[in-house]
Amino acid sequence: MSAAAPETAEAPRSGRSRARRVAGWREHHGWSAAASLRRLAGRPVGTFLTVAVMGLALALPLAFYLLLANVQSLGDGLGRNAAVSVFLKPDQAGPQAELLAKTLRERADVAAVAVKTPQQGMDELATMQGFSGALHALDEHNPLPYVLEVTPRADLDAAAFERLSADLRGERAVDLVQDSGQWRQRLDALLALGRRIVEALALLLAVAALLVVGNTVRVDIASRSEEIGVLTLMGASHAFVRRPYLYAGIWYGLFAGVLAVLLALAVEWALAGPVAQLGQVYGGRLRLGGLPPWLLLATPLASALLGWLGARLVSAWQLRKAA
């Protein structure tokens, strides 16, 4: 009965009325999004606190993720790509050692093979502190075998590395293979545990973020009961009254997600120096595993979704109570 265009009119389904409904819908959403943003800007301290708490809660799992990724790359750098020492049986002499080295060099998963003679081994030992006396006692008899230092290809995964290691062990001339396999396994198990902990933590902190937004929106709605009453009297639908709060949740979430990413990048930046140093010590095999781009993008989006969800749950309950 009003001359004004009614909200979501149940008009006949002609193309024009459909176009008008879409325009009206856009109008409503644009207004709600802008109005809620203005409200957040209107009380900057409260908004900052909510965003900060939520952002910190989300930054924490990101930082742990970063830490894990680096421990993993540390493990990769130290363990998987390290040379494997292959000790030949004592009866294997120089020609056999060179022959085995030659066949190993032809393997696709081997990058390099160096042959270390018993004499070279002895010389190495001699340079180590405390060993020279013991070596004298050996009295010219060198008990060391030939050793092949096999460097696997850098990009081998754990399974391929395991295969290579097994093949080496299977060689007739080989007495002992010393690789980092067991050490790797332990690290992998620890990393798997770490990942699980990060996942659980991320879940808990996401719930915390949800509660933070929910509570903020709850207080907001409670403090605006008068406005809600006026809007309702003027013919605002439930959806219209609720929409600014949903947008507020989205804004909180989005800003908190961006803050979390910035914090995580700060941690990454702070780690870069020490990791580079560590990398130098280990001959440049170590690089900082940064946050992947998809995660930098997904975090604010997921956070916005969380904010919306928190606002939605609370507003449904709070507005029903007010009605």
Binding site: M1, S2, A4, E7, V230, T232, L233, M234
Partner: protein, 225 residues
């Protein structure tokens, strides 16, 4: 425009606020509802806007039976009614412009058209220069005029007002009532609840008198002295 047919309203745990009330208000008519405090004036207006539902009887508004309007249909019904309250109910944290704009936002009117209509409404109540002010910086009479601008900005066919001059001194009260009469001139149906009999008599409009929820007199405009 409005038809009450044997309408009774009993609040939960209370006695009857309205008893078997029957009357009609024609399209474009202006009428006052008066009576002592507690006579049922506010209740009558609340039934029209579906803030309350009658216990018995029928109310028909612009050809539509209100008993058939479900919960989900109430917003649409209310968008067709302009409401003015004794305490104006402006949102104090927004400018005059933003307050008057609200019904148009709810009605999803485009921004340019909104601005045009808000200014037209503010001009009608003589507050065009106040659009950027906050309501708190306005006098009581000006605040009530903003409330009226908000009520008419979406061009409702029906304007209802509950004690719109209750907080104003007599001079301002006359001005406000004059505004309502102007909107009637423009074709709006106007229903005003007020207990200010001297003022009502000056207006020379129809008067419906309630007493303990019963209609005890219905004086036509021409008979008001």
């Amino acid at each position: 425009m409005i038809r009450f047919d044997q309408v009774s309203k009993r609040y939960e745990g209370g006695h009857e606020a309205l008893s078997q009330l029957s009357f009609e208000v024609a399209d474009g008519e202006m009428a006052f509802v008066t009576g002592h405090s507690g006579a049922g004036k506010s209740t009558l207006l609340k039934l029209i806007a579906l803030i309350e539902r009658p216990s018995h009887g029928q109310i028909v508004l612009d050809g539509q039976s209100l008993s058939k309007v479900r919960r989900g249909g109430i917003p649409r019904l209310r968008r067709g009614i302009g409401m003015v309250f004794q305490d104006h109910r402006l949102l104090m944290d927004r400018t005059v412009f933003a307050n008057v704009e609200l019904p148009l936002v709810i009605g999803a009117v485009a921004p340019a058209e909104r601005a045009r209509r808000v200014r037209a409404a503010l001009e009608k109540v003589g507050l065009l220069d106040y659009e950027r002010q906050l309501p708190a910086s306005l006098s009581a009479g000006e605040q009530q005029r903003v409330g009226i601008a908000r009520a008419i900005v979406a061009r409702p066919k029906l304007l209802i007002a509950d004690e719109p001059t209750g907080n104003l001194d007599p001079q301002l009260a006359v001005e406000i009532m004059g505004l309502f009469a102007e909107f009637q001139q423009l074709g709006t149906t106007v229903l005003v609840a007020s207990h200010d009999l001297p003022l009502i008599k000056r207006m020379k409009k129809r008067v419906v008198v309630l007493d303990h929820g019963r209609l005890v007199a219905d004086v036509a405009a021409s008979e008001v002295q």
